[in-house]
Protein backbone atom coordinates (compact mmCIF):
# COMPACT_ATOMS: atom_id res chain seq x y z
CA UNK A 1 0.00 0.00 0.00
CA UNK A 2 2.64 2.51 1.08
CA UNK A 3 4.87 1.49 -1.77
CA UNK A 4 2.01 2.08 -4.20
CA UNK A 5 1.37 5.51 -2.72
CA UNK A 6 5.07 6.26 -3.02
CA UNK A 7 5.10 5.16 -6.65
CA UNK A 8 2.09 7.31 -7.54
CA UNK A 9 2.71 10.23 -5.19
CA UNK A 10 2.53 13.01 -7.83
CA UNK A 11 -0.60 11.50 -9.39
CA UNK A 12 -2.36 11.38 -6.02
CA UNK A 13 -1.38 14.97 -5.19
CA UNK A 14 -2.70 16.02 -8.62
CA UNK A 15 -6.00 14.24 -7.97
CA UNK A 16 -6.35 15.89 -4.55
CA UNK A 17 -5.56 19.32 -6.04
CA UNK A 18 -8.20 18.71 -8.71
CA UNK A 19 -10.79 17.86 -6.07
CA UNK A 20 -9.82 20.91 -3.98
CA UNK A 21 -10.30 23.15 -7.02
CA UNK A 22 -13.60 21.51 -7.92
CA UNK A 23 -14.96 21.90 -4.39
CA UNK A 24 -13.91 25.56 -4.50
CA UNK A 25 -16.11 25.87 -7.60
CA UNK A 26 -19.05 24.27 -5.79
CA UNK A 27 -18.82 25.74 -2.30
CA UNK A 28 -17.64 29.30 -2.83
CA UNK A 29 -20.23 31.92 -3.67
CA UNK A 30 -17.75 34.64 -4.60
CA UNK A 31 -17.08 34.69 -8.33
CA UNK A 32 -13.38 35.55 -7.94
CA UNK A 33 -12.92 32.57 -5.60
CA UNK A 34 -14.62 30.34 -8.16
CA UNK A 35 -12.08 31.50 -10.76
CA UNK A 36 -9.25 30.73 -8.33
CA UNK A 37 -10.74 27.25 -7.92
CA UNK A 38 -10.70 26.70 -11.67
CA UNK A 39 -7.05 27.77 -11.77
CA UNK A 40 -6.20 25.25 -9.03
CA UNK A 41 -7.78 22.56 -11.24
CA UNK A 42 -5.57 23.72 -14.13
CA UNK A 43 -2.48 23.41 -11.92
CA UNK A 44 -3.48 19.84 -11.03
CA UNK A 45 -3.53 18.95 -14.72
CA UNK A 46 -0.09 20.50 -15.27
CA UNK A 47 1.34 18.53 -12.37
CA UNK A 48 -0.14 15.30 -13.72
CA UNK A 49 1.20 15.90 -17.25
CA UNK A 50 4.65 17.07 -16.19
CA UNK A 51 5.18 14.15 -13.84
CA UNK A 52 4.14 11.68 -16.56
CA UNK A 53 6.96 12.96 -18.74
CA UNK A 54 9.74 12.90 -16.15
CA UNK A 55 12.09 9.94 -15.89
CA UNK A 56 14.45 9.57 -12.96
CA UNK A 57 18.09 10.15 -13.80
CA UNK A 58 17.51 11.91 -17.10
CA UNK A 59 17.93 15.61 -17.90
CA UNK A 60 15.82 18.32 -19.52
CA UNK A 61 15.45 17.94 -23.31
CA UNK A 62 18.13 20.43 -24.32
CA UNK A 63 21.24 19.15 -26.10
CA UNK A 64 23.97 18.66 -23.47
CA UNK A 65 27.48 17.30 -24.05
CA UNK A 66 26.57 16.42 -27.65
CA UNK A 67 24.57 13.36 -26.59
CA UNK A 68 21.85 12.62 -29.15
CA UNK A 69 20.54 9.34 -27.74
CA UNK A 70 16.97 9.22 -26.42
CA UNK A 71 17.98 7.67 -23.09
CA UNK A 72 19.73 10.88 -21.98
CA UNK A 73 16.67 13.12 -22.00
CA UNK A 74 13.17 13.08 -20.53
CA UNK A 75 10.10 12.90 -22.75
CA UNK A 76 9.58 16.32 -24.44
CA UNK A 77 5.93 15.78 -25.43
CA UNK A 78 4.25 16.41 -22.02
CA UNK A 79 6.25 19.66 -21.72
CA UNK A 80 4.73 20.87 -24.98
CA UNK A 81 1.25 19.83 -23.84
CA UNK A 82 1.65 21.73 -20.55
CA UNK A 83 2.57 24.83 -22.58
CA UNK A 84 -0.69 24.50 -24.54
CA UNK A 85 -2.60 24.09 -21.30
CA UNK A 86 -1.05 27.21 -19.75
CA UNK A 87 -1.96 29.37 -22.77
CA UNK A 88 -5.55 28.17 -22.82
CA UNK A 89 -5.88 28.65 -19.05
CA UNK A 90 -4.58 32.26 -19.31
CA UNK A 91 -7.13 33.03 -22.02
CA UNK A 92 -10.02 31.44 -20.14
CA UNK A 93 -9.07 33.22 -16.89
CA UNK A 94 -8.94 36.60 -18.67
CA UNK A 95 -12.33 35.98 -20.23
CA UNK A 96 -13.90 34.97 -16.92
CA UNK A 97 -12.39 37.95 -15.08
CA UNK A 98 -13.72 40.41 -17.65
CA UNK A 99 -17.18 38.84 -17.43
CA UNK A 100 -16.97 39.18 -13.65
CA UNK A 101 -16.11 42.88 -14.07
CA UNK A 102 -19.19 43.38 -16.26
CA UNK A 103 -21.42 41.55 -13.75
CA UNK A 104 -20.03 43.64 -10.90
CA UNK A 105 -20.68 46.85 -12.78
CA UNK A 106 -24.28 45.88 -13.38
CA UNK A 107 -25.25 44.29 -10.06
CA UNK A 108 -22.66 45.83 -7.67
CA UNK A 109 -21.86 42.50 -6.04
CA UNK A 110 -19.69 39.45 -6.60
CA UNK A 111 -21.98 37.04 -4.74
CA UNK A 112 -23.52 34.65 -7.27
CA UNK A 113 -26.73 34.16 -5.24
CA UNK A 114 -27.34 37.87 -4.96
CA UNK A 115 -26.75 38.29 -8.68
CA UNK A 116 -29.25 35.51 -9.43
CA UNK A 117 -31.79 37.10 -7.03
CA UNK A 118 -31.39 40.45 -8.74
CA UNK A 119 -31.82 38.90 -12.18
CA UNK A 120 -35.01 37.19 -10.99
CA UNK A 121 -36.32 40.47 -9.57
CA UNK A 122 -35.60 42.20 -12.86
CA UNK A 123 -37.53 39.55 -14.77
CA UNK A 124 -40.51 39.85 -12.42
CA UNK A 125 -40.53 43.60 -12.86
CA UNK A 126 -40.49 43.18 -16.62
CA UNK A 127 -43.51 40.86 -16.53
Amino acid sequence: MFEQIYNHFNDIVAALLFVIGFSNLLFQKNLIKKIIGLNIMDVAIYLLLASQGFIRGRIAPILTDGSESAVTYINPIPSGLVLTGIVVSVSVTALMLSMTIRLYRKYRTLDLDEILMKIRQEREEED
Partner: protein, 256 residues
Amino acid sequence: MDRINNNEKKRFYTVFKIVATILMICLAASLIICMFDMPRLFSEEHPGENVVAERYIESGIEETGAVNFVAGMILDYRAFDTFGESNVLFAATICVMVLLLGHKPSDRSEHETVPRTVKNDVILKTIAKFAVPFILMFGIYVILNGHLSPGGGFSGGAIVGSGFILAAVSFGFDRMEKFLNKKSAGIITFVSLLVYCLAKSYSFFTGANHLESGIPLGTPGAILSSGLILILNICVGFVVACTMYSFFSLMRRGKI
Protein backbone atom coordinates in the same frame (compact mmCIF):
# COMPACT_ATOMS: atom_id res chain seq x y z
CA MET B 1 -43.32 35.46 2.64
CA ASP B 2 -39.70 36.47 3.05
CA ARG B 3 -39.27 34.18 6.03
CA ILE B 4 -40.62 31.19 4.11
CA ASN B 5 -38.19 32.03 1.31
CA ASN B 6 -35.34 32.27 3.78
CA ASN B 7 -36.25 28.91 5.31
CA GLU B 8 -36.40 27.34 1.88
CA LYS B 9 -33.06 28.85 1.02
CA LYS B 10 -31.49 27.53 4.21
CA ARG B 11 -32.87 24.06 3.62
CA PHE B 12 -31.64 24.13 0.04
CA TYR B 13 -28.15 25.05 1.18
CA THR B 14 -27.98 22.32 3.81
CA VAL B 15 -29.02 19.71 1.24
CA PHE B 16 -26.67 21.22 -1.35
CA LYS B 17 -23.71 21.14 1.01
CA ILE B 18 -24.30 17.54 2.06
CA VAL B 19 -24.78 16.33 -1.52
CA ALA B 20 -21.77 18.29 -2.77
CA THR B 21 -19.53 16.97 0.02
CA ILE B 22 -20.53 13.39 -0.73
CA LEU B 23 -19.96 14.00 -4.43
CA MET B 24 -16.51 15.47 -3.81
CA ILE B 25 -15.48 12.58 -1.53
CA CYS B 26 -16.65 10.10 -4.19
CA LEU B 27 -14.75 12.02 -6.87
CA ALA B 28 -11.57 12.09 -4.79
CA ALA B 29 -11.82 8.38 -3.99
CA SER B 30 -12.47 7.35 -7.58
CA LEU B 31 -9.67 9.57 -8.93
CA ILE B 32 -7.16 8.20 -6.42
CA ILE B 33 -8.19 4.59 -7.15
CA CYS B 34 -7.77 5.32 -10.87
CA MET B 35 -4.34 6.84 -10.20
CA PHE B 36 -3.12 3.50 -8.78
CA ASP B 37 -3.69 1.99 -12.23
CA MET B 38 -1.61 4.65 -13.96
CA PRO B 39 1.84 3.61 -15.20
CA ARG B 40 4.55 3.82 -12.58
CA LEU B 41 5.99 7.33 -12.39
CA PHE B 42 9.58 8.26 -13.28
CA SER B 43 10.38 4.78 -14.60
CA GLU B 44 11.90 4.01 -17.96
CA GLU B 45 9.09 1.59 -18.84
CA HIS B 46 6.56 4.42 -18.98
CA PRO B 47 4.34 3.90 -22.08
CA GLY B 48 4.66 7.58 -22.99
CA GLU B 49 8.33 6.91 -23.64
CA ASN B 50 7.72 5.49 -27.13
CA VAL B 51 8.93 5.92 -30.70
CA VAL B 52 7.48 9.45 -30.99
CA ALA B 53 9.62 10.90 -28.19
CA GLU B 54 12.61 8.91 -29.42
CA ARG B 55 12.21 10.28 -32.94
CA TYR B 56 11.86 13.88 -31.68
CA ILE B 57 15.13 13.59 -29.76
CA GLU B 58 17.25 11.43 -32.06
CA SER B 59 16.57 13.13 -35.36
CA GLY B 60 15.44 16.48 -33.94
CA ILE B 61 18.73 18.27 -34.49
CA GLU B 62 19.13 17.03 -38.06
CA GLU B 63 15.60 17.94 -39.07
CA THR B 64 14.91 21.16 -37.15
CA GLY B 65 18.37 22.40 -36.16
CA ALA B 66 17.13 23.41 -32.70
CA VAL B 67 19.27 22.54 -29.66
CA ASN B 68 16.20 22.86 -27.43
CA PHE B 69 14.17 19.78 -28.37
CA VAL B 70 10.92 21.17 -26.96
CA ALA B 71 11.24 24.29 -29.15
CA GLY B 72 12.00 22.08 -32.13
CA MET B 73 8.93 20.02 -31.32
CA ILE B 74 6.37 22.76 -30.74
CA LEU B 75 7.59 25.12 -33.50
CA ASP B 76 8.52 22.62 -36.21
CA TYR B 77 6.85 19.23 -35.92
CA ARG B 78 3.77 20.61 -34.21
CA ALA B 79 3.81 24.19 -35.45
CA PHE B 80 0.12 24.31 -36.30
CA ASP B 81 -0.67 23.50 -32.67
CA THR B 82 1.32 26.55 -31.57
CA PHE B 83 -0.33 28.63 -34.28
CA GLY B 84 -3.68 27.61 -32.80
CA GLU B 85 -2.47 28.67 -29.34
CA SER B 86 -1.48 32.12 -30.61
CA ASN B 87 -4.89 32.41 -32.23
CA VAL B 88 -6.55 31.44 -28.95
CA LEU B 89 -4.72 34.34 -27.27
CA PHE B 90 -5.79 36.68 -30.09
CA ALA B 91 -9.41 35.53 -29.79
CA ALA B 92 -9.28 35.99 -26.01
CA THR B 93 -8.04 39.58 -26.47
CA ILE B 94 -10.91 40.26 -28.87
CA CYS B 95 -13.46 38.79 -26.43
CA VAL B 96 -12.09 40.85 -23.53
CA MET B 97 -12.23 43.94 -25.78
CA VAL B 98 -15.87 43.21 -26.68
CA LEU B 99 -16.72 42.87 -22.99
CA LEU B 100 -14.78 45.81 -21.55
CA LEU B 101 -14.02 48.30 -24.33
CA GLY B 102 -16.16 51.36 -24.83
CA HIS B 103 -17.53 51.58 -21.31
CA LYS B 104 -18.01 55.16 -20.27
CA PRO B 105 -16.60 56.11 -16.88
CA SER B 106 -20.15 56.89 -15.73
CA ASP B 107 -20.94 53.18 -15.92
CA ARG B 108 -18.50 52.50 -13.13
CA SER B 109 -20.14 52.05 -9.79
CA GLU B 110 -19.32 54.28 -6.88
CA HIS B 111 -17.90 51.29 -4.98
CA GLU B 112 -15.31 50.75 -7.63
CA THR B 113 -12.09 52.53 -6.94
CA VAL B 114 -11.19 55.09 -9.53
CA PRO B 115 -7.94 53.97 -11.19
CA ARG B 116 -5.33 55.88 -9.29
CA THR B 117 -2.53 57.30 -11.35
CA VAL B 118 0.67 56.84 -9.45
CA LYS B 119 2.33 60.07 -10.44
CA ASN B 120 4.34 60.99 -7.41
CA ASP B 121 5.42 57.64 -6.09
CA VAL B 122 9.17 58.19 -5.86
CA ILE B 123 10.09 54.68 -4.77
CA LEU B 124 8.14 52.95 -7.52
CA LYS B 125 9.39 55.34 -10.19
CA THR B 126 13.04 55.06 -9.16
CA ILE B 127 12.93 51.26 -9.00
CA ALA B 128 11.04 51.02 -12.29
CA LYS B 129 13.56 53.25 -14.02
CA PHE B 130 16.26 50.69 -13.22
CA ALA B 131 14.19 47.52 -13.48
CA VAL B 132 12.15 48.02 -16.67
CA PRO B 133 15.07 48.08 -19.15
CA PHE B 134 16.55 44.94 -17.63
CA ILE B 135 13.19 43.14 -17.60
CA LEU B 136 12.63 44.00 -21.27
CA MET B 137 16.20 42.97 -22.14
CA PHE B 138 15.81 39.64 -20.34
CA GLY B 139 12.50 39.02 -22.11
CA ILE B 140 14.07 39.71 -25.51
CA TYR B 141 16.98 37.42 -24.59
CA VAL B 142 14.58 34.61 -23.68
CA ILE B 143 12.68 35.06 -26.97
CA LEU B 144 15.79 35.17 -29.16
CA ASN B 145 17.41 32.18 -27.41
CA GLY B 146 14.27 30.06 -27.53
CA HIS B 147 15.90 27.45 -29.75
CA LEU B 148 19.13 27.32 -27.70
CA SER B 149 18.07 27.40 -24.06
CA PRO B 150 14.92 27.04 -21.92
CA GLY B 151 12.33 29.58 -22.88
CA GLY B 152 10.85 30.71 -26.12
CA GLY B 153 8.10 32.89 -27.47
CA PHE B 154 5.53 32.28 -24.77
CA SER B 155 7.69 32.74 -21.69
CA GLY B 156 9.72 35.60 -23.18
CA GLY B 157 6.56 37.33 -24.36
CA ALA B 158 5.10 37.05 -20.86
CA ILE B 159 8.26 38.64 -19.39
CA VAL B 160 8.17 41.51 -21.92
CA GLY B 161 4.45 41.98 -21.25
CA SER B 162 5.00 42.20 -17.50
CA GLY B 163 7.76 44.76 -18.14
CA PHE B 164 5.23 46.83 -20.09
CA ILE B 165 2.75 46.49 -17.22
CA LEU B 166 5.35 47.69 -14.69
CA ALA B 167 6.18 50.66 -16.94
CA ALA B 168 2.48 51.51 -17.34
CA VAL B 169 1.84 51.33 -13.59
CA SER B 170 4.82 53.45 -12.62
CA PHE B 171 4.96 56.05 -15.41
CA GLY B 172 1.27 56.24 -16.28
CA PHE B 173 -0.72 54.79 -19.16
CA ASP B 174 -0.44 57.99 -21.21
CA ARG B 175 3.22 57.45 -21.85
CA MET B 176 2.75 53.79 -22.80
CA GLU B 177 -0.04 54.81 -25.14
CA LYS B 178 2.44 56.65 -27.34
CA PHE B 179 3.76 53.40 -28.76
CA LEU B 180 1.36 50.70 -27.59
CA ASN B 181 -2.24 51.72 -28.22
CA LYS B 182 -5.24 49.93 -29.69
CA LYS B 183 -4.11 50.53 -33.26
CA SER B 184 -0.46 49.53 -32.91
CA ALA B 185 -1.24 46.50 -30.71
CA GLY B 186 -3.74 45.32 -33.31
CA ILE B 187 -1.29 45.80 -36.15
CA ILE B 188 1.56 44.04 -34.31
CA THR B 189 -0.63 41.05 -33.42
CA PHE B 190 -2.11 40.80 -36.91
CA VAL B 191 1.23 41.06 -38.72
CA SER B 192 2.82 38.49 -36.37
CA LEU B 193 0.03 35.99 -36.91
CA LEU B 194 0.13 36.57 -40.67
CA VAL B 195 3.92 36.07 -40.85
CA TYR B 196 3.61 32.90 -38.76
CA CYS B 197 0.80 31.56 -40.95
CA LEU B 198 2.54 32.31 -44.27
CA ALA B 199 6.00 31.07 -43.22
CA LYS B 200 4.71 27.82 -41.76
CA SER B 201 2.24 27.22 -44.61
CA TYR B 202 5.12 27.56 -47.07
CA SER B 203 7.29 25.09 -45.19
CA PHE B 204 4.43 22.61 -44.76
CA PHE B 205 3.52 22.92 -48.46
CA THR B 206 7.04 22.21 -49.62
CA GLY B 207 7.49 19.48 -47.04
CA ALA B 208 4.28 17.67 -47.98
CA ASN B 209 5.21 17.72 -51.67
CA HIS B 210 8.84 16.70 -51.08
CA LEU B 211 10.16 19.95 -52.53
CA GLU B 212 13.29 21.80 -51.46
CA SER B 213 12.11 24.53 -49.07
CA GLY B 214 15.33 26.49 -49.36
CA ILE B 215 15.27 27.41 -45.65
CA PRO B 216 18.84 27.07 -44.29
CA LEU B 217 19.11 25.23 -40.99
CA GLY B 218 22.51 26.64 -40.05
CA THR B 219 24.85 25.11 -37.51
CA PRO B 220 23.01 23.93 -34.39
CA GLY B 221 23.90 26.11 -31.41
CA ALA B 222 24.40 29.35 -33.35
CA ILE B 223 21.94 32.16 -32.75
CA LEU B 224 21.00 32.36 -36.45
CA SER B 225 20.15 28.71 -36.92
CA SER B 226 17.29 26.22 -36.93
CA GLY B 227 15.41 27.65 -39.90
CA LEU B 228 12.06 29.21 -39.13
CA ILE B 229 12.04 28.61 -35.38
CA LEU B 230 13.68 31.95 -34.52
CA ILE B 231 11.20 33.90 -36.67
CA LEU B 232 8.22 32.00 -35.28
CA ASN B 233 9.47 32.56 -31.71
CA ILE B 234 9.66 36.31 -32.36
CA CYS B 235 6.11 36.32 -33.80
CA VAL B 236 4.73 34.39 -30.81
CA GLY B 237 6.61 36.71 -28.43
CA PHE B 238 5.02 39.80 -30.00
CA VAL B 239 1.54 38.27 -29.78
CA VAL B 240 1.96 37.24 -26.14
CA ALA B 241 3.47 40.59 -25.03
CA CYS B 242 0.64 42.58 -26.67
CA THR B 243 -1.96 40.23 -25.21
CA MET B 244 -0.59 40.46 -21.66
CA TYR B 245 -0.44 44.25 -21.76
CA SER B 246 -3.90 44.63 -23.32
CA PHE B 247 -5.48 42.28 -20.74
CA PHE B 248 -4.08 44.42 -17.93
CA SER B 249 -4.91 47.72 -19.60
CA LEU B 250 -8.46 46.70 -20.47
CA MET B 251 -9.20 45.45 -16.98
CA ARG B 252 -7.60 48.45 -15.31
CA ARG B 253 -9.15 51.31 -17.24
CA GLY B 254 -11.39 49.91 -19.98
CA LYS B 255 -9.27 50.76 -22.98
CA ILE B 256 -5.89 49.97 -24.48
